[in-house]
Symmetry: C2
Subunit: 230 residues, 2 copies
DNA sequence: ACCTGAACACCGTTCAAGT
DNA sequence: ACCTGAACACCGTTCAAGT
């Protein structure tokens, strides 16, 4: 009982945007997008909901800051000096994995293209195309296609996560969708029928990467350049 | 003044899911995603907000039905019998244009992969890959990549529309983003700097199609098949 | 069977009042 | 300068009561 007085909860530091964003990320990660409210955030920070507005303009601002944090961490964690094609794949996978862990980032990225996180992603892909032999006039379209692929998958993964929050089993959930697809008229949906069986067992990450490789293949086919020997 | 009595508002027909969805689409198209509330919808239909729940499970159900309507119309309007590559491009452009007119469809598609609209889109792309010479094992990944591209662009366009709702000029808005990009550190963001100038003047539709062509190029490069003479 | 509309629970955001 | 927390305006959804 006579131990040195333990610091109570953590009301020592003053409130700051940093601490608010940190707490928001914790709520988003553990309880999902729906759980982030100013009331919940205020409770966790042991303050009033209005206090948060002193450091943060509004909820969009808060979510943007949280998203930037996660993306900046991905960019910082990237290995340097890889060959362009490998660097592009590593960046894509890094983003995929980050969004897999923080599905709410997917929602944000696909809802707000003016986010500060977007130019970071653009730069990450675009600056490596030079090394792939893509001429300057073609770099904008090629980069945009890679970025759109990442954002597109991000949005879908976030949607899946939103749904899986209410359910236990992922395979069972995909199985239900597969069953719905299998119940469509086979005459009108022959392809969907064939693919339905692959749905529950397919690996999102591998399919994402297959898409990146398809796009890279298209880029290289359109611009046969020096690095053809990947 | 003595003209035949005009039908008052339109309270003749009983309420139905069809009429509710129709009214919802009108609100979404004219006043944007934020304007669709059960109160606004009830007012337009001259009924109580609770009445809507007799025909529609909840707001998600309503939005799903509205989205399916728009997508089904795109599928129905497609020309028959085109060669596979042209058919795929036409489908992609049809979806792009529909989402351009109804940006809220973009939000829905990128938020809800279990929508009934999704297998329609899957079928539209997937069933044409056979004719491109893509072997069966590769069709799932290739289709998914095309669908993701459509959904990814859909989400971004919807986000842009949400922002442009509060503003008048599109070019001015893109100009502001371009300016933000141009203000980033040129040493760390050389590519973003180069691309910023192209941002305000670039054509979203053309860039979308360039992405589709890049993906198709990658598909054909991976599976050099019978239809190489496109 | 279908509709009405008040009531409920819950948001984001504001703001007068405190320190 | 920064924090508190009640109050405001507005949601989606429910439900007892009507026809």
């Amino acid at each position: 009982m006579a131990i040195k007085k333990q610091r109570a909860v953590r009301r020592t530091d003053a409130l700051s945007k940093e601490r608010i964003v940190e707490a928001a990320i914790e709520i988003l990660d553990t309880d999902g997008e729906g759980a982030l409210t100013f009331r919940a955030l205020a409770a966790r920070l042991a303050t009033g909901s209005g206090a948060i507005y002193w450091h943060v303009a509004n909820k969009d601002d808060l979510l943007a800051a949280a998203t930037n944090d996660v993306i900046a961490r991905v960019m910082a964690g990237l290995a340097q000096g890889a060959r362009p094609r490998e660097a592009i794949r590593a960046l894509a996978l890094g983003l995929f994995d980050a969004i897999d862990v923080h599905p709410w980032v997917g929602t944000q990225l696909s809802r707000a293209p003016w986010l500060a996180a977007i130019p970071q992603i653009f730069e990450g892909f675009g600056s490596r195309l030079e090394g792939l032999g893509v001429p300057e006039e073609a770099q904008f379209d090629a980069t945009s296609t890679l970025v759109i692929h990442v954002l597109g998958v991000a949005g879908q993964n976030a949607a899946n996560a939103r749904l899986l929050a209410h359910r236990t089993d992922r395979t069972a959930f995909l199985g239900e969708i597969a069953q719905q697809w299998a119940q469509l008229d086979p005459a009108r949906y022959p392809f969907v029928h064939r693919v339905a069986a692959q749905l529950p067992e397919h690996d999102d990450r591998e399919q994402f990467l297959a898409g990146i490789d398809l796009i890279l293949g298209g880029i290289e086919a359109a611009h046969p350049g020096p690095s053809a020997r990947t």
